[in-house]
Structures are given as C-alpha cells and as structure tokens.
C-alpha cells in the first residue's frame, strides 16, 4: 500500500503506474494544515478522472474530531473509493460515530452501505487496548492498520529499527484482525535508503501474520512484493498438497500424507492460501 500525499498532483496522477496493490491518497498527516482545503478538492477531482488501473484506492481522511474530517467525508464518500482509512481510532464508539456519518452521506446520495469498506488505523496505546472491539464492530471494517510513528510518539518512546517498542502492539493488532478474519497492514519503514532493513522488517511482519505493508516511496514496493510472494518451492508444495487432497477426497480419505508429512485441514487451508497469493485458481489444480 503506497502512501501518496493528497496535495501532490504529480504523484497522484501517476499513482497507478507504480505497481502497488493499493494506493492510499492521504488527506491527513501528509498535508500541511493550511493546504487541507486544496488537497481535499484535488483528491476529489483526481478520483473522478484518473485511472489507477488495478490498484485498490483508499483515501485517508482527517479524524472527525478535527476541523477537517467532516468536509473530507462530504467530498470523498460520494465518490465511493474502495476504502476510507480512518486515523487514530481509539474506541469502538468513535468508529460507530464515523460509520453513522458515512452512512448518512451515502443515504443523501442514494448509495449503498456495503460497497466502500473501512480501514481503521490504530495509533495510540488506547487504540491498541481496544483493537479487538474496534475490529469486530462492523462488517465494513476489512482491515486494521498500525501507525507506527504516532504510536511511538503516544507511548513516549524512541523509535528503533527493530521496532521493539511497538512489537506488542503489532501482535495485538494482527491477533484482532485474524480473530475477525480481516486484513492486518503493517506500518511504514521510514528509511527509504535502507533496503536490507526494509526487507528484514517486512519478513518479520509477514512472519507474525500481517497481510501487507504500507510504503512511503515507490522504490520500496518491489521488496515488499518479493517478501510477500510465495517462493517457487512453496507454490510447488501447495500445488502437490491440493492435488493430493482432491485425489484422496474422491477416494473418501480425510487425512493423508505428502512427502511423508501428514496433511489435514489446517495444512490444506495454508496450501490454498499460498495458491491464492500466487494467483493460481484452486479449481485449475
């Protein structure tokens, strides 16, 4: 997921060519206070006219308790991007308030309530404590993300490259997302010149269960894709497992082995997920 500052026309209009799976058009922290009006109008116009190809489009609005949040929603919700990202979410109650506002705007424009989803950002200690209740509040929430910079500031700690200070928060957010069967997206890696550091952090994110990672520079996209894509060996193994499952299922056998290792339901689910990541149709196996 590539962050694009909402007041930068060059980056906005080229957003679709960078190859990110998802674009985050940012009206919040990437926009100076005295340019909030300009960014809002620019992003609205860009959404209407620019083709972003296959990328999922998400707009990060300002919090509804700031002077800008309501106007952001009034301009952006009628355009129904794929998702709205809501920053600094701390309680289920404020998320409920946001959803009410969004649905009122949708009603005003005769729009359905089930198309545009919500990505909720957890960026404070209180948000981390409430993350499970936030994640389960509404079916419209399809991703939980962690905002590492703000969380570090809220905790009054210094950010370190190993991210040890926010490790518990990362894991709580992943667990809340998994428990609610939604995506968990990891925070940005801020040193754009440290490719190895980015790779290491992305490998860690993947290992603890994040389903994606945000980036602040297009040059970080390839490394994240490389880490998240399954390896050729993983794909071969998954293919073998699914083939064996289908064969054994026809013979009425529930548990079987592949290359000497037992295959049961969890192993099958993992193999199916690997094929999904590799864009291989389950039915074609």
């Amino acid at each position: 997921m590539l962050y694009i500052p909402g007041n930068n026309p060059a980056m906005l209009q080229q957003g679709g060519v960078y190859g990110a799976d998802s674009l985050l058009l940012d009206l919040e922290d990437a926009v100076a206070i005295n340019q909030k009006d300009a960014a809002r109008i620019l992003v609205r116009n860009i959404l209407k006219e620019i083709d972003f190809y296959e990328a999922e489009i998400c707009v990060r609005v300002n919090h509804i308790d700031t002077p800008f949040g309501m106007e952001d929603l009034e301009e952006i919700v009628p355009l129904q991007p794929d998702a709205i990202r809501f920053p600094k979410t701390e309680t289920p109650e404020e998320l409920e308030r946001l959803i009410e506002i969004i649905e009122k705007i949708e009603d005003k424009h005769n729009l359905p309530h089930d198309q545009m989803t919500l990505h909720v950002m957890i960026e404070t200690a209180l948000g981390v404590q409430n993350v499970f209740d936030i994640a389960k509040l509404s079916k419209r929430v399809d991703a939980i993300t962690i905002g590492g910079q703000d969380l570090t500031a809220d905790m009054n700690i210094s950010g370190t490259k190993d991210g040890s200070g926010i490790d518990l928060a990362r894991k709580m957010i992943v667990m809340a997302a998994k428990a609610n069967k939604i995506d968990a997206i990891d925070t940005v890696f801020v040193d754009v010149n440290d490719d190895e550091g980015l790779r290491k952090e992305t490998e860690y994110s993947k290992s603890i269960g994040f389903t994606g990672k945000a980036v602040i520079n297009p040059r970080q996209i390839d490394i994240i894709h490389e880490v998240y894509q399954p390896t050729e060996e993983e794909i071969r193994k998954a293919y073998k497992i699914i083939r064996a499952f289908k064969k054994n299922k026809e013979a009425g056998i529930g548990v079987f082995s592949v290359d000497g290792k037992m295959v049961d339901a969890p192993v099958m689910a993992r193999a199916a997920y690997v094929l999904e990541l590799a864009d291989i149709d389950y039915d074609s196996v």
């Binding site: 026309p9 060059a10 009006d37 109008i41 620019l42 116009n45 860009i46 006219e49």
Partner: protein
C-alpha cells in the same frame, strides 16, 4: 460566489499550476493571464478550462493569473476552485 480578496492555490512544482486571483473594480470583466510550459500546445485549452470554471462559479469580474507547469485538467480545476473559495471567504 463573490471574490472579496486576493488568494492563491497550487504550486510551481511539475504537474501543478499556481493560480492567483484578485477582485477587480465594478464590471470590468475577466482579466486572465496565462504562463505555461506547454503554452504553444495547450494555451488555448487552458484558457477555455479557466473560463469554464469561472462560469460554473458564476464569476464575471476577476483578475486571474495562472502559472502552469504541465498540470492536467483535474488539477487545474482543483486549483482554480481552491483559489476562488479562499478568495470568497472573510
């Protein structure tokens, strides 16, 4: 919409356009000045777009200066709208 003060929107960055607007006295009409890196190719269409934006906000009397660095239509429209809204607020 009534233009009551000077205002500007946009930047000199590539793919952007800087729009400056100010009120004019009485019914002196629209005075539009355009400077663009693509003046030869798109100068006329930028002027048409500016006029069409001013029409949509019902503005007949204004001084508008546009300094364009290759902005696309949605950006030009956005910067004009922003400048006009800023110029119409107390």
């Amino acid at each position: 919409m009534k233009i009551i003060k000077k205002a500007q929107a946009g930047t000199f960055e590539s793919s952007d356009i800087l729009i400056l607007v100010e009120p004019v006295s009485g019914n002196s009409g629209r005075k539009i000045e355009i400077d663009s890196t693509v003046m030869k190719e798109y100068g006329e269409s930028i002027k048409e777009l500016i006029n069409s934006c001013l029409d949509s906000f019902h503005i007949q009397n204004i001084h508008l200066i546009a300094k364009d660095k290759g902005a696309l239509k949605p950006t030009i429209q956005a910067r004009i709208e922003t400048a006009l809204k800023r110029a119409s607020q107390q």
